[in-house]
Amino acid sequence: MLFFTAVAAWVYMIIPMITRIVVDNIINDIPFAGGFLIATIVALFGGIETLQSHIWLAGLMLVFVTTLQAFFVFVRQRFAALASERIVKRLKDELYDHIQKLPYDYHVKAQTGDLIQRCTSDVETIRIFYHSQLIEIVRAVFMVIFALGAMVSVNIRMTFVSILFLPFVFLFSFVFFRYVKKTFQSQAEKEGEMTTVLQESLSGIRVTRAFGRGRFEMERFIEKNDAYRDVSFRLIHYLGYYWSLSDFLRFTQTAIVLVYGIMQTYQGVITVGELILFNAYVQMMVWPVSQLGRVLTDTGKAQVASNRVYEVLETAAESDNENAVDYDLKGDIVFDDVSFAYEKDKKILDGLSFTVKKGETIAILGATGAGKSTLMHILLRLYDYQTGSITINGKELNLIRKDCLRSKIGMVLQEPFLYSKTIENNLRMAKESVEQDEMIKATNIAAIHDVIEDFEKGYDTLVGEKGVTLSGGQKQRVAIARTLIKNSEILIFDDSLSAVDTETDAEIRAALEKRNKDVTTFIISQRITTLMDADRIFVIDGGILADSGTHQELLGRDGLYSRIWQIQAMLEQDIKMKQSE
């Protein structure tokens, strides 16, 4: 790329020389003397004498040289496109891959908007750097070097006059863009503020309308809209001054060369052709140099963008223990004195010990933040336990490969995510090769098959904004079916049935019971009817296993379970009605 940039610049230098040859050597009959490249080209077209008798050949020569230069420009730009797109593709892939592999905790805390911005607009800034800024810098440097070389060989004093203003042109644009950087930033900020208000007004439109706050919102928006307009206008205003001043400098440089050149020509120091040559070179140099100032400030943006991207890439991804193996999970699960804290000194789980027999159904009850979900996340090693030991089928959890663990444990998250694909493709995400009837079996157990069939496009219904919007309960049921397709040895429902009505909830659990005799099942719920049918109920309170036992056992004791039971019961005072029946 560097090479082609140089060649293109070099050939570009030849073009004005042709005009000079026509004026000096052909029209004005001055003997020809020139550098290697131009001499070769002239020779190629039959030498000066031939050109003199066939002046149109000079035109042809110009077309030839320009086309040659055009070709190199094309090659340079194509290389730039190839290279920058490849670099950026690799970067994008790396980002996507890495983000997926970042720990669960990272995603819990991640700010989606910011992360997406890093993956898209920051990467785009980097692309622009490779695609154009880098070339522009290199090109400007080559142009100045070559033009200087060509000019010096003609006349040193003229050369000096020709570049008199160049440093100012460069400095001016460099300083200017430094200076307005802040305005650029504040424009971006104002735009952000405006779109935030817009976004909020739109997503809160129901509240706005219900309170009759249209005017209030309008005023809020007008304020931000005005501010954005004003700062944009101010910026353009500055740019107006910049362009006019830099044009002024450029033209003044040209004028000086012209006037000084005329006097030199008058004195016979340079020829008319050389005057035209200098004039052309000045024009050729001034533009890239004035661009250089802008580009150099812009590279600062690329620097910032690349830092932001690498910040993501350098965040440590999940990894396995060196000795981790694939393992058969059919067996008991044993927790022994397991503790876990997200932040130091704030233990979420504090010395938890229990054993779950293979095939048992365990229901887990606890207040919000008591550590129920954490417990299940640890079992899937979405988080790593810090002390104690967990074994499945006798094997320490740390020594089982994560992908093995996750493929054999099916977990339905509290807020499951459906991808904007068809329902069938969402289901198949768990197992691409699943048979049709097996899939339908799963959707039947999750009590969602009939709902899906009712959609106009059935299993081909698109989920998401352009497709059908599923209710919370329907989403959870699709997610349950998806997890069931995995045929896991351990199943975890993290409050997955809360958005489903009690009747369907019971149906699903009954169907599960029938299918999964050997499957160890954990159900987190706050709904008493969901809990009471389990083989055993765990009550988690303040990070410890406060109580465990069957429904009857727990009701017999004074504890959280019986208290919750009473609260829910108190809401139902229609006992008299029941009794009167």
Binding site: A210, A255, S420
Partner: protein
Amino acid sequence: MQQFEEQDYSRQFDAKLWRKLLRYCKPYKKTFAILMSAGLILAVSDAAFPLFTGYAIDTFVVDADLSNLLVFGILYGVLILINSICVTVFIKQAGKLETFISHDVRAHGFEKLMKLSFSYFDRTPVGWIMARMTSDTYKIGDIIAWSCLDITWSLTIIVFSFGFMLITDVRLTVLILLVVPFMVLASIYFQRKILRAHRESRKFNSKITGAYNEGIGGAKTTKTLIREAQNFREFKVLSKGMEKAGVRAGTITALYFPVILSLTSIGIAIALGEGGRSVINNMISLGTLSIFISYAGLLSEPISNIARILSEMKSAQAAAERTIALIETDLEIVDSKEIVKQYGDFMEPKSDYWEKIQGNIAFQNVSFQYKNGEKVLEDFNLEVQAGEKIALVGETGSGKSTIINLLCRFYEPTKGQICIDGRDYRERSQIWLQSNLGYVLQSPHLFSGTIKENIRYGKLDATDEEIEEAAKTVDAYAFISKMEKGFDSEVGESGSKLSTGEKQLISFARAIIAKPSIFVLDEATSSIDTQSEQAIQRAIFKILEGRTSFIVAHRLSTIRHCDRILVIDQGRMIESGSHQVLLQKKGHYYNLYMNQFRDEAVATHLLQKN
């Protein structure tokens, strides 16, 4: 995710649409005039520079007569000055047009959005509206301002330079002109291709943004499904496609400039060859030759400029079409002019003239159907006394929410009428009713800002005491004062820093601070946790006190607290009465009750046994 996707367009020039856009230009007639004059003068001065050089060569160099050099220098300086001033002026004026016009379109669009009825937002994704209000409005401002300038400049330069060349040497001009058709064709061809290629790569880009969005949003689910590898494979197909599209766009762009360059060089070559011969034959002067060479070189820019604008017009037209469509959407609920005159609208509410609402509500033979003919409510009748609490019960899609929306006048009856205090509510303005409503949504929506600001949303002139009072009423005071900054704590974007229960309580405080006469509550379906649930229940009971209330209820305790329960099924009221009465009836409510609340009943029963 689809909201990111690029939309297709390939339509003919739509004169009507552009005429509509012209409305937005009217206030800036003067700016347009200045801009065009600046563009004109600039083009003339740009075209004059070669004339100066030509004169200099002929007079000072060839004739070796330096007597006019000083005058020449001064004039040249003046020309530079004019040129620079024109540049400042045109950038400033075009910038003004660009920013002001897009600002005006946005302001207009926003005002419209505030007036549009609920049904519009039911069927239009927020992402779609956002795109219209941002990138499309930018594009409109951009094309109007800069194309106007570019066309003026380009045409002037073409006319001027050709005019000069024709006067000087017709034959040479005609020869140079031979290149122009090729240049025009190449420009049109390439500009079209470039636009298409860039759009193709933007399409991929939006897909990639969508993929990142899903990859990040779904990362947790991905882990539980161990889909990383498969997802990555799917992503790589996209990013490869993007790379290819990018290279294609880059290549076609890279090809365009060299082609134009070569074509230009043919023009210059003709000038050089033919002109050179004319100089030797003493038909034209050396200075004239240099002018011809310069003009031949100058040709490509205006031509490619115009070609670029023509192709950009297409995408700008698509943007304008969508934005204008948004602005011209029919309002489904409108107050008549007389009513607005008397009661004001949301921009200028005339609250001094508003009658106080007692809270007697009557639905008289109300039917409602969607525009597509789907019937939701049929012949619905209901009399509600001031202060009565009404619970609406029924399955999803039965029409409960429609009744609420009709009551709030988010929808209007397609047949029949709704009277408030004995008068059809259409006889008063929307803002009159909605300012007297307390309204709490199923999922509470807070605005970013402080807690105080959010509560004040219900009553803009509320004092701090009133705000605290409202918070106390709904039992939110305790948790708010525990927060580090109390009422001045930021709630985060759409309340993200608060728990669902806390958001709920604040939305209650917001709803009651203005002491509304009518209260509407769409109860959340899923419970949060038992303790917060109780706090919310207590708040609800307090709020309902002495207010005409409509509640889409899911909690037994809420339902039981109401004076009357309406069971809605397929758009009809099939039962109504108090909890006890309905249970004794052993009808739909009884069944619903038995099904939906059986758990709680069984629980109680079991408890009795123990």
